[in-house]
Structures are given as structure tokens and as C-alpha cells.
């Protein structure tokens, strides 16, 4: 008997890394899961590796595109009949830079990817959940949702912004058995961090990827990066029926990094 038997979840950006770990944990707990990513190839690989049979479906779409953010909700409903849990996980940076050197294009990309995508997905999911008076919305923020490191101003700004969006929405739907929460992971060596980390490290003035990882570790109490499984178990908890009284919360999974 799983903790999420009979639930349907959709997770943006979930063919790999944090989103994938959440998808696998939900599947293990008995949910039906829609995973999402830009690449049909990566989607096919994820589907094969997860081995969830008819309980997993892949929706090819780009979180930076409003149509796709809304499309995943429609897809989940079409595929599994409803949507109980929406995990707004997709996000990142491409060519980040200090504020003085930040291009409008990169700024726009980060705002679109990390903030607009969360808004679009949240709005669409709420429109389905509010009449049903049931739902769980989980936003993947970051330690940078409370802190702010040099060289990643767009990331820090948007990860802060989603917390404001989350808190406001939590109060809007607080009596409807719909919770809205954020998880704030510390650094995790996901594929996306390995891919974009070297450029971010340069923007942060740290030179190398290794230095960047070391800085995050040093700031934590555990002196190591976090793990995707640590985030996934919190995502399970927040999705459960018993978590009905937890909303508007910024849940840290950062090994003791954030001061509040």
C-alpha cells in the first residue's frame, strides 16, 4: 500500500535529476505520473528506465512555453482522468552573469523558465483543482530562494519570486484542501548542474565547477551536496493526504545552509 495510491501527479522537467527522483518516488508510492521534458529522446529513455508501465506517461514540452506548461495539465487529465499533484520543478540558467553584465535575453530566459513557467503551470492546475477541492502544488525553489550568490542574480531573483507566488496562492486556496508549498534544495550535482555549472562558476567569479560545488558545501552544516532522493521524500510528504495542514511553507533540504 503506497502513500499516494490513486493519485495522479504531473512533474515538469522530470526526465532526469530532481524531477525524475520525485517521479520515481511517486510511482513507488502508488501514483500515476506524467513526466515531462523538452527532448522526446530523453523522455523515451526515462520511460524505459523507470519501468512504470501504464502508470507513467511522457509529455514532450518546454516549460519556457506557456502552451506546454498548460498542456501538461490537460495531458494528465486526458491520460489519467484528473490531476491531484502538480510539481513545478523545471528551471535553471543558461548563460548567467553578474547584474552589470547580464543580457536582457538571459534575464528574460530565466524569468520565463523559473517564474513564468511556475505561474502558468500553477494557474492551470488550480483551475482544475479548485472545483474539485483537492490538490497539492509543489514548487522547486532553491537555497537561492532565500540567499543570493554573486553571478546568479536572475536565478536568485526568480527563486525568491516563486516563494512569494507560492505564499500568496496558499492563502487563496487555503480552505479548499489544496496546499501550495516550496522545497528549497541546496546544491545537488544533477545533470543540469554539471552541464551549466562550469559557466555559472565563471560568472560567480569562482573559476571552476569544483570551486562552486565546494562553496555550496562549505556553507552547509553537512559539508556535502544534497541528494535528489532527499528532495523526493519531502515531495512525497507534501503530496500526502496527511499533509493537508502544511501549506505556504518553504521546506529546506539544504543540509543546514539557510539561516531561516
Amino acid at each position: 500500500m503506497g502513500k499516494l495510491d490513486g493519485k495522479v501527479a504531473a512533474i515538469t522537467g522530470s526526465t532526469r535529476s530532481i524531477g525524475r527522483a520525485i517521479a520515481e518516488a511517486y510511482l513507488r508510492e502508488g501514483a500515476q505520473v506524467v513526466i515531462n521534458g523538452r527532448s522526446a529522446e530523453k523522455g523515451a529513455v526515462a520511460m524505459k528506465e523507470m519501468g512504470g508501465g501504464a502508470n507513467v506517461a511522457f509529455f514532450a514540452g518546454d516549460a519556457r512555453n506557456q502552451k506546454d506548461c498548460e498542456g501538461i495539465v490537460d495531458f494528465a487529465i486526458e491520460k489519467f482522468g484528473k490531476l491531484d499533484i502538480m510539481v513545478l520543478n523545471s528551471g535553471g540558467v543558461e548563460n548567467t552573469a553578474p547584474v552589470a553584465q547580464m543580457t536582457d535575453e538571459e534575464w528574460m530566459l530565466e524569468v520565463t523558465w523559473n517564474l513564468h513557467s511556475v505561474f502558468w503551470g500553477m494557474r492551470k492546475a488550480l483551475q482544475h483543482m479548485i472545483p474539485r477541492e483537492a490538490g497539492r502544488i509543489i514548487v522547486t525553489s532553491s537555497v537561492e530562494g532565500k540567499l543570493g550568490k554573486p553571478g546568479i542574480p536572475g536565478y536568485a531573483a526568480t527563486k525568491h519570486a516563486v516563494l512569494g507566488l507560492m505564499k500568496s496562492a496558499a492563502h487563496e486556496v487555503g480552505t479548499l484542501n489544496i496546499t501550495v508549498n516550496a522545497i528549497l534544495p541546496g546544491i545537488i550535482e544533477t545533470d543540469i548542474v554539471r552541464e551549466t555549472g562550469p559557466d555559472s562558476a565563471i560568472a560567480m567569479g569562482l573559476g571552476t565547477y569544483e570551486n562552486m560545488i565546494a562553496l555550496f558545501c562549505k556553507e552547509s552544516a553537512i559539508k556535502r551536496p544534497n541528494k535528489v532522493e532527499e528532495v523526493a521524500e519531502v515531495a512525497v510528504l507534501l503530496a500526502r493526504d496527511v499533509a493537508a495542514g502544511i501549506t505556504g511553507t518553504s521546506f529546506p533540504v539544504d543540509g543546514g545552509t539557510m539561516p531561516y
Binding site: K167, A170, H171, V173, G174, T175, G186, S220, A221, I222, K223, R224, N226, K227, E229, E230, A232, E233, V234, L237, R240, V242, A243, A244, G245, I246, T247, G248, T249, S250, F251, P252, V253, D254, G255, G256, T257, M258, P259, Y260
Partner: protein
């Protein structure tokens, strides 16, 4: 059975939040030591929990070092170790506005909430650190982050627990032992029913007004439940909790500002 083979100690575990955590841990496979001041309530809890040899009651008061030591010693004598220490006992009596507050009321609240957490944390750490695995979970409160009038002794003690937790987390971060706080919103436990009316007087309102006030501040417009806290306590005690430390986890229906 995520906690199979683990031993948990829960101060003030015969009723309310502590009891819900004890039951959750029992369901997860752990052996559980519960504590309380009343032998009668302890016996009743043991009977109701029906956990056989995996539940053990230690009568004692956490308001002294000796009282805490007796609980820790009894747990180790019974089950050989402590993996999970839940510092749950706490409360306040003789609440009053600061201008009228007695030294005794403050001292009692600090002993009950802060000193007990310090003592049991220290004693549990001495068992956990050499073994390189442990979970300390301190039941703080929404009032560990905010502050309401008339209950300054409680608010002060709960804030202090948060500080102790953050500092300790940095000390033991690489040892395999985590320490966190759960910050519940108001829950109508037996303790709340016992102490709430007195606190309400100090706050200048009726007990029902007090409950309504807490509910009105929450997004969910209701009080929280013990099971909601227990679910978080289970998560923090699990293997996946290894990467969560020094955190103040709110279970308050969207009340705390941070």
C-alpha cells in the same frame, strides 16, 4: 518499515503531538520510549498503543537534569541505544503580560521547554555521535518564529530552542546526526485544553477567541492536527532526512511568515 531497528525516545509522549509521533514511529518499525509525569496516563498510553515489546513508558519529569538523565538511562537500558530523540515535552503555566510576569513563571517555562531540550539533546548526542547516526527532532512552535501577547515565556523558550538547534546543527553537521525543529501551529491537544484558558486570560480573551485567532491567521482557517506533525517527524527520522538539518519546518497551515 523505514525505521526498523531504530530506537526513538519521545519526551511527553503519552498524549497529543508526542503520542502521534510515537504511533507513527511504531508503525514505521521503530521501538519507542514514551515519557510522561503520570504513571496512570503512561499505562493507559501503553495499553492503547498496543505495541508489545516495542513500546516502553518511563515516568519522569523533564524539568531537571536528573529527570532527563533517568529517561535517557532507562531507554538505553531497555533498548541499548537512542537513534531518534524527540524533544516534545513543553508548555507554559502562569502566563502573564511581561509587565506582570513572575520570575518563577519564566524559570518554569525555560526548564520545561529549553533546558529539557538542551539536556536530552546533550545526553542523546553522547550516545549518537560515537555511532555516527542520529536524529534529534525538537518540537518548537509557530511561536518559535512569531510572538503573541501574554505568552512571552513560551515564545521566548521556543525561539531559544530554534537557536540551540541551528547552532548544534553546525557543530554536528558531518557526523551523521541531524537536528531540526518542527514548528506546529496551534493544535487542540489535551495540553492546550489544560493551559489554553489560562494563556487566553493573559492574552485578554476567551479560550475560544484564542483558538479562533490562531485559525484566522492560517491559510487553512483551522487548527493543525497531531498527525500532520507526526508525518514530518517520520520524514526527518528517515534515511532521506540525512540531508535536512538545522531547519525550522513549519506545520502551521500557512501562518508563519518565513
Amino acid at each position: 518499515m523505514e525505521l526498523q531497528g531504530r530506537v526513538a525516545v519521545i519526551t511527553g509522549g503519552t498524549r497529543g503531538i508526542g503520542r502521534a509521533i510515537a504511533e507513527a514511529y511504531l508503525a514505521d518499525g521503530a521501538s519507542v520510549v514514551i515519557n510522561g509525569r503520570s504513571a496512570d496516563k503512561g499505562a493507559e498510553a501503553i495499553r492503547e498503543m498496543n505495541g508489545g515489546d516495542r513500546v516502553f513508558f518511563v515516568q519522569g519529569d523533564v524539568k531537571s537534569r536528573e529527570g532527563c538523565q533517568a529517561i535517557i538511562d532507562a531507554a538505553i537500558a531497555k533498548y541499548g541505544k537512542i537513534d531518534i530523540m524527540v524533544n516534545n515535552a513543553g508548555g507554559s503555566t502562569d502566563n502573564a503580560q511581561v509587565v506582570d510576569l513572575t520570575d518563577e513563571a519564566l524559570d518554569n517555562a525555560l526548564k520545561w521547554n529549553l533546558w529539557s531540550t538542551f539536556w536530552c539533546t546533550q545526553m542523546a548526542l553522547r550516545d549518537m555521535l560515537p555511532r555516527g547516526w542520529g536524529r534529534i527532532i525538537n518540537i518548537s512552535s509557530l511561536e518559535g518564529k512569531h510572538g503573541k501577547p501574554g505568552v512571552s515565556i513560551y515564545v521566548t523558550a521556543k525561539h531559544a530552542i530554534n537557536g540551540l538547534t541551528k547552532s548544534c546543527a553546525q557543530e554536528i553537521g558531518t557526523t551523521g546526526v541531524t537536528i531540526n525543529c518542527i514548528c506546529p501551529g496551534a493544535i487542540e491537544t489535551d495540553t492546550m485544553r489544560d493551559e489554553g484558558p489560562g494563556a487566553a486570560v493573559a492574552m485578554g480573551m476567551t479560550y475560544q477567541d484564542l483558538l479562533d485567532w490562531f485559525a484566522s491567521e492560517a491559510a487553512i482557517k483551522r487548527l493543525n492536527s497531531c498527525d500532520e506533525v507526526a508525518a514530518v517527524a517520520s520524514l526527518l527520522a528517515s534515511e532521506a532526512g540525512a540531508g535536512i538539518t538545522g531547519s525550522m519546518i513549519s506545520v502551521d497551515g500557512g501562518t508563519a511568515a518565513y
